[in-house]
């Protein structure tokens, strides 16, 4: 058995930093699309953030959205073309900061889309500023002494936040910080796409992901940071699943 690259991914040299989790997340999404044989039907939205060049990697139709507006654009695309499979791919700045209103309202309306949410607890592309998901005490360029809950508030837990909304079908938080986690993450992503294919409604998979460059850690220590620090602040698991009952 040998490893092959998904045909959903283009032959494109990566622009992501060594040790970044985006590459794994891209591969998982691409493999799921391939296994479900839906590539010709997939329409994705590219965010603002490190994944802004999503269209350089995925061999499907993609629209670049203004910062945070992916859920609104995806809503419209899905409503106009319900036969297509629509997913957003967003980071914590895009989804949980500037686009929080769209995130909540799209989830609350129960739009039949799939949201892939990369949580690396920092603004990556602009160079390591504090995100809504930055941990207490975590240093960033805009919180040089570490995030202080009294000043910046505690980190926002998106899965827990959205779990109170009746419109939501499926919420799961996974990680790409170990082989076991990657397998679990792929199952969650597959379920999120399958839910859409079956018309079951809004699905979001939050993926805890490494950012060695902006965390100023080695790739190995970044994995440790996810496993030891992030998983404590953002526990993995299923937060809502209307399909299981």
């Amino acid at each position: 058995m040998s490893f092959t690259k998904s045909s959903v991914l283009k032959d494109q040299a990566t622009h992501y930093c060594p040790g970044c989790g985006h590459g794994i997340a891209h591969r998982i999404v691409a493999e799921v699309i391939e296994e479900l044989d839906i590539r010709e039907k997939v329409i994705a939205t590219a965010p603002v953030g490190c994944a802004v060049l999503l269209y350089d990697y995925f061999n499907c139709d993609i629209i670049e959205c203004a910062h945070g507006r992916s859920p609104a654009a995806a809503t419209a695309i899905k409503r106009v073309r319900p036969e297509n499979i629509v997913f957003t791919y967003q980071g914590d700045g895009d989804l949980a900061a500037i686009g929080m209103a769209e995130t909540i309202h799209t989830a609350n309306r129960g739009e039949n889309i799939t949201v892939i949410f990369i949580n690396n607890a920092i603004y990556g592309m602009t160079g390591g500023q504090m995100a809504p998901t930055t941990l207490i005490g975590q240093k960033s360029t805009t919180s040089p002494a570490g995030r202080d809950a009294n000043n910046e508030g505690p980190p926002i837990r998106i899965c827990e936040l959205l779990s109170s909304l009746d419109g939501v079908t499926y919420l799961e938080r996974v990680s790409v910080s170990s082989a076991k986690d990657v397998i679990r993450a792929k199952k969650a992503v597959k379920k999120a796409f399958t839910n859409q294919i079956e018309g079951k409604g809004y699905s979001l998979v939050e993926i805890l992901s490494m950012c060695p460059t902006d965390w100023k850690l080695s790739p190995k220590h970044s994995v440790d940071f996810v496993n030891k620090e992030m998983k404590e602040a953002f526990p993995l698991g299923v937060f809502k699943d209307l399909t299981s009952s």
Partner: protein, 393 residues
């Protein structure tokens, strides 16, 4: 003590902010202005300023926070670029019409789509009608100097308007140049304390800001706002004079470079002016009567002064680094307005350049002067509007 430092444009703006020591800074990162707030966050962390730094969730919230803090009587600053300022759009107008002298570093960047992070002036030119004073800078020193003057201008009791200090993304924001950072104490004294006006903190004198205002008084408030903008012109001149007396660098509403006997003049904004000066010098050595008019203050626009400065020249090329879709360039429109009432009007035409960061080299600018020479020799302008260095033209 003043000191000469090698610094980026963003670093220089953060230094100006440190010296101004605002009460509140609210911002959201966007390339290429991010480093201004990053550097400033270090000053906050190191206790070098007394500022409340609010790392809000979007630019719309950033400007909303600025307006709130300013209405509460604070001196307030932010920094942004392009789409970031576009997301502030609603609040830009509200800051201006509530007469809140918020101070902004605007690092010029092209507007989406297609997404682009490099320089043009589409962001600030799009906001030219929002009611902000707009001051532009050729280089690091000018951007820093303009920012030191900005609070004194905006907070003047005859003005009370927000001020946008613009500089070119990457070309200035990320390049390193040697410039003078003035003495902290001297800057602090020059800038002074903000005098609160109808502050929300003044509980003995309760006020409402931004209340409903329909057919009864809205037009009077707009007219009053315009009056403040007119007055800003002489205030800018006064403050620039004071700045020159204290720090030695002299600024007018615009810079006239070798204009005295110039026959062919280019009008331009921001960093390209530095290159144009070199080209003007070279052509002057060859005996060509060329000159440059560099815009510094775009709002309020100094129509009469520019009209006088360009009187007598034979042909004017206006270089716009933005487009007003379906119209001539925004700077060209203003220069046309300024020149129309001259009895002996020069030939006038418009060239768009540099959108999304397309570079203009010295030879490209020489070509622009060559074209104006050809037009002048033929006695007519063949193309009023055109793009420079563009495919498919």
């Amino acid at each position: 003590m003043p000191k000469n430092v090698a610094i980026t444009g963003n670093g220089a703006m953060a230094e100006a902010m440190r010296q101004i020591n605002p009460d509140v800074v609210a911002a959201f990162p966007i390339t290429p202005s991010t480093q201004v707030i990053e550097d400033f966050a270090k000053f906050v962390n190191d206790g070098k300023v007394d500022t409340e730094l609010i790392t809000v969730e979007s630019e719309h919230s950033a400007m909303s926070a600025c307006i709130g803090a300013s209405a509460a009587g604070g001196r307030v600053m932010t920094a942004t670029s392009s789409n970031g300022m576009a997301l502030m759009w609603e609040m830009l107008y509200i800051a201006a019409s509530m007469r809140q002298p918020v101070l902004m570093t605007l690092v010029n960047r092209a507007m989406s789509a297609p997404i682009n992070i490099h320089c043009d002036h589409g962001d600030s030119m799009g906001a030219r009608d929002a009611g902000w004073i707009q001051i532009y800078a050729e280089n690091h020193q000018e951007a820093y100097d303009n920012m030191i003057m900005a609070p004194v201008i905006g907070e003047n009791m005859d003005v009370r308007l927000p001020v946008m200090v613009c500089m070119d993304g990457f070309l200035i924001s990320h390049s390193v140049e040697t410039m003078q950072i003035e003495d902290d104490q001297q800057v602090s004294e020059f800038v002074g304390e903000k005098v609160p006006l109808n502050s929300l903190f003044d509980t003995d004198k309760p006020v409402s800001w931004g209340a409903l205002d329909l057919q009864d008084y809205y037009i009077e408030h707009r007219r009053g706002q315009l009056e403040a903008m007119y007055k800003a012109k002489s205030v800018i001149e006064d403050v620039s004079k004071r700045f020159a007396e204290q720090f030695g660098r002299k600024y007018d509403l615009f810079e006239s470079y070798r204009l005295e006997d110039a026959e062919r003049v280019i009008v331009a904004i921001n960093s390209v002016a530095g290159e144009l000066k070199e080209v003007v010098d070279e052509l002057r050595e060859q005996g060509e009567k060329v000159g440059l008019l560099k815009i510094r203050v775009f709002r309020p626009f100094p129509y009469e002064d520019i009209s006088k400065a360009l009187e007598g020249c034979k042909i004017v090329t206006v270089m716009d680094r933005s487009t007003s879709m379906g119209a001539y360039g925004p700077l060209f429109g203003e220069i046309s307005n300024a020149l129309y009432n001259l009895e002996d009007r020069p030939l006038l035409y418009n060239r768009t350049y540099g959108l999304g960061g397309r570079e203009m080299l010295l030879d490209d600018l020489k070509d622009v002067f060559q074209e104006s020479k050809d037009y002048l020799n033929n006695g007519k302008v063949e193309k009023i509007f055109d793009f420079l260095k563009v495919r498919g033209a």
